[in-house]
Symmetry: C2
Subunit: 139 residues, 2 copies
DNA sequence: AACAAGTTTGTAACGATTACAATCACTCGC
DNA sequence: GCGAGTGATTGTAATCGTTACAAACTTGTT
């Protein structure tokens, strides 16, 4: 599914800026923040405004096309993969890594009262990534 | 375990301000933010500074006595219960609710690479709480 | 071409958090 | 007891991510 198709599918008008932002997210699974995206797109879209990036990401999140990660207390990160998976953030290098999840286990794990309407689920791990763990052990 | 004992157990010097903050957290399972805590303690500790509340909560988090929740994009919330449980935040009224977890299921759920050193785990749900869901349905 | 509706832009404001320097409290050797 | 030194607290100022807002721009329609 292309960015344009995703936008159409959820009824969001496909401006060049929106396509560019979503395209970037779909091609880079690095969980970028707003500045990463802005810096990456600015060369190609010289008039692009940071505000537009913020607005677009909010819109895309509300539309369910991307998810906003609050794993990093410093700033929000974004992910165009909205299938069930967890995230690990390295507290040293700040890299965010995808963690696959066994789908069935989620229901088995949480005892959610029936009267609650869950709209999104986020599972975060914090710690040291392999590289930083290794570096720490040799220091 | 009292607040003073907890502080001693993890080697944090027990100043009146620190005891007050931790005491408050241990007695109120409302997942307060900094301003909630400050507002609650200020009458009894007129010289208390917001900065001290921030500093104390950071120290307590680093010591593992409390956990900092990043479930609310607006501000951090704090929880003196560091046993395994998830959190649900109502996107309408902003209330944070504890969700019990079946401990065994966590391992079954996440496929964490062996070389990663996980230091903390947070599971967040977002949606409508029973009261707000009901209100929404009747509107 | 004129208009309306919605989008983008840039700047200004906001608000949570942190930095910093001054003051304060407490302990320890005298 | 007393002053130095260490660490804690305080208040203000700065920082920085994000949002509000108003003006300029696009696009589709008559």
């Amino acid at each position: 599914m292309t960015a344009i198709e995703s936008l159409a599918a959820c009824g969001v008008k496909a401006s060049p800026q929106r396509v560019a932002v979503l395209d970037y997210l779909m091609e880079h699974h690095t969980h970028p923040n707003v500045d990463d995206i802005y810096a990456a797109l600015h060369p190609d879209y010289p008039t692009l405004s940071r505000t537009t990036v913020y607005n677009t990401l909010r819109l895309l999140t509300e539309s369910g096309v991307v998810q906003t990660l609050s794993i990093d207390e410093r700033n929000a990160h974004y992910d165009a993969d909205v299938t069930l998976h967890a995230h690990f953030i390295c507290t040293a290098c700040r890299t965010i890594i995808d963690i696959p999840l066994r789908e069935a286990a989620l229901d088995a794990m949480a005892e959610l009262p029936r009267e609650m309407q869950v709209e999104s689920t986020q599972l975060y791990f914090r710690g040291l990534c392999p590289a930083c763990k290794c570096r720490a052990e040799h220091a």
